[in-house]
């Protein structure tokens, strides 16, 4: 915190676990978040993402492990003393207070002088674009406006860490996109450390510096969005983000694998024996005429087009390899010419670097 305008503090989870009765909601949770970093916890419901958030906020007590904010252990601290901003799933605005009173609440609790509070509330409502609705009750505001009040209330007291629990879940798609951009803008401007819980992979990809993918109370992978998308740690993560084709390959000597009739170079060691699952994103596969030349360092296979769908900016092909395996190809469209019809023989090819191998579900 050398720059006083940057609010963020680092957060550290060390071997944190939470047990309810005999089952663990979260276990072995290790995560280090840098000051000013935006990290998303992503997972299906029941993956332990909200429990982790609640432990940081102080509403759940870890069964084991320790949590530190700005280098200080917070485990023994009651929620009110943690100085962590939070936007709740349903906003949890106080229904009997106006927008301005809601935003003022944390300042009032901190005993700040009245003049200072009024200035801070006015400034914050201005930042979220609600200055003209300051005297409305939450019930008189739209969902998006309520969300903005909740955000303003959570950051008006300049907390070093901001937690958001599916804050955009109840909003329609267009509003979500607007608010995603707005939250990112405010976060970057204030330098807040943000822990953002979501089950929406697209939201996680667009907003986060890093994404922490969770399943059954454990972390599967923590990485930058590009890395998560391009190099998923396992087939679950791969399936969670976007579409993926799965092809079965068998090792063919050192440095090569056999995919049906073709042998492809394989940089990794691969399994000594048994099958390897190869994943390829549909947009990384090119579709061409049967006799078209294949670029260097590409793997090419013959296939038959089964279905073709026009989706505006791309065509989606479903093709069958000669092994019988189905492959989806997304062909970006610069113009509408060309295209392949169902039943047509085509050549599919992709760069060898586009292949990701998995053994028993784990990246190989």
């Amino acid at each position: 915190m050398t720059d006083p305008s940057r609010l963020g503090a680092p957060v550290r989870f060390e071997g944190v676990g939470k047990r309810y009765g005999r089952s663990w909601a979260v276990r072995g949770f290790d995560l280090e978040i840098a000051a000013g970093e935006f990290v998303s916890l992503l997972g299906a419901s029941g993956s332990g993402k909200t429990t982790s958030l609640m432990m940081l906020a102080g509403f759940e007590t870890p069964t084991e492990g320790r949590i530190a904010v700005g280098g200080r252990t917070v485990d023994a601290m009651p929620p009110a003393k943690r100085d962590i901003g939070m936007v709740f799933q349903s906003y949890a605005l106080f229904p009997h207070m106006t927008a301005a009173e809601n935003v003022d609440f944390p300042l009032r609790m901190r005993g700040r002088p009245k003049a200072e509070r009024e200035a801070a509330v006015a400034k914050m409502l201005d930042i979220v674009g609600l200055a003209h609705l300051a005297d409305r009750l939450p019930s008189q505001l739209s969902g998006g406006q309520q969300q903005r009040v909740a955000l303003a209330r959570a950051i008006v007291f300049e907390p070093p860490v901001l937690l958001m629990d599916e804050p955009l879940g109840a909003l329609d798609k267009h509003l979500r996109a607007t608010l995603q951009a707005e939250i990112k803008r405010i976060q970057a401007r204030l330098g807040l450390t943000v822990l953002f819980v979501t089950h929406d992979q697209e939201e996680a990809l667009t907003m986060s510096d890093r994404i922490c993918v969770m399943r059954d109370g454990a972390i599967l992978q923590v990485d930058a969005p590009e890395t998560i998308y391009d190099r998923p740690a396992d087939t679950y993560v791969a399936a969670f983000f976007g579409e993926s084709n799965a092809l079965t390959a068998v090792p063919e000597g050192p440095g090569a694998v056999r995919l049906g009739p073709v042998v492809a170079p394989w940089p990794g060691a691969g399994p000594a024996a048994g099958a390897l699952e190869i994943a390829i994103r549909p947009e990384r596969i090119a579709i061409a005429d049967e006799d078209a030349p294949v670029p260097p360092a590409h793997v090419a296979v013959f296939a038959t087009v089964r279905e073709t769908t026009f989706v505006g900016d791309r065509r989606v092909y479903l093709a069958a390899l000669d092994t019988g395996e189905a492959v989806q190809v997304n062909q970006p469209l610069a113009d509408l010419s060309g295209g392949h019809r169902p039943g047509e023989r085509v050549r599919l090819h992709w760069a060898t670097t586009a292949m990701r191998g998995f053994v028993d579900g784990r990246a190989a």
Binding site: A57, F88, A92, H96, F105, M109, P138, S139, R153
Partner: protein, 275 residues
């Protein structure tokens, strides 16, 4: 939906019959209460219906007779103290039962609601023997405490209903924003459940104000509550004064109900009606 279906399916004669039955039931319920109102304006010395002449003399009698006024003030004082005690205890019990998870919660709830079920005469005997060694028999505070125990279930029921519609995340939000436990209650929980608390307090007041059996057991000649005074008056003199007092009591009860209804309506309007 079912009422609508009924209305659509039932013919005119059926609807008239239903209306007539409903009216008869309503009359049956209200008539004994309403009958005392014309009686109270009687100009004669004796209770008779219909009154032969009209006057306000029995109201004047009430407001100028010391024993009526003393009893009225005593009952109001007892009811206020009992309502305050019952409201504090009932609200605390409702909060505790709504939040805490412990085995035997249902048993504790039933226990706290038992004053509604246990016959008043049993409670009266118990209270008498409990109070006698403590020297509380005959004291107004003793009656107020006994009434508070009888009235607290009304508060418990009303506050529990209010808490059922209360989002506990609001308390989490308050604490997250830096509020202490007391501030959270004072600034967030209480303002939101206030209509339920107020309604409970009004019911508690009325429960104490017209309670007679327990009061009869622990009253003393110097401390006679209004219901006991009315009962004695009924037994001894049967003057229309009793009707005037009854009318005043009805007026007080009905106004209190309107106050409670207004508090509740305002709360609904303020929260936008969706909570």
């Amino acid at each position: 939906m079912s009422a609508r279906a009924l209305r659509l399916s039932a013919g005119l004669p059926a609807r008239v019959a239903l209306g007539a039955v409903a009216l008869l039931v309503a009359l049956f319920l209200v008539f004994p209460v309403v009958i005392v109102i014309p009686l109270s304006f009687s100009g004669s010395e004796f209770l008779s219906f219909p009154p032969e002449s009209w006057s306000l003399r029995w109201y004047a009698d009430f407001f100028t007779t010391a024993r009526w006024l003393e009893s009225a003030w005593l009952s109001i004082w007892i009811a206020v103290v009992a309502a305050i005690l019952a409201t504090v205890l009932g609200t605390a019990a409702a909060l505790g039962l709504a939040r805490a998870k412990f085995p035997g919660r249902a048993v504790v709830t039933a226990f706290l609601l038992s004053p509604l079920v246990v016959p008043a005469i049993i409670v009266s005997i118990g209270v008498y023997f409990f109070y006698a060694p403590l020297g509380l028999v005959g004291s107004p505070i003793g009656i107020a405490i006994a009434h508070a125990t009888l009235a607290s279930p009304f508060v418990l029921v009303n506050v529990t209903a209010a808490l059922a519609g209360f989002d506990p995340r609001l308390e989490q939000a308050a604490k997250n924003l830096g509020a202490s436990g007391w501030s959270t209650f004072r600034l967030v929980t209480f303002p939101i459940i206030k209509p339920g608390v107020m309604a409970g307090a009004v019911f508690a007041f009325i429960a104490s104000f017209d309670e007679m059996i327990v009061a009869l057991f622990i009253t003393s000649p110097g401390n006679v509550t209004l219901p006991i005074r009315m009962w004695e008056s009924m037994r001894n003199e049967i003057s229309p004064a009793i009707a005037a007092v009854s009318t005043l009591v009805i007026l007080l009860s009905v106004s209190l109900f309107f106050v409670a209804a207004r508090i509740q309506a305002r709360a609904v309007a303020r929260s936008g009606g969706d909570r």
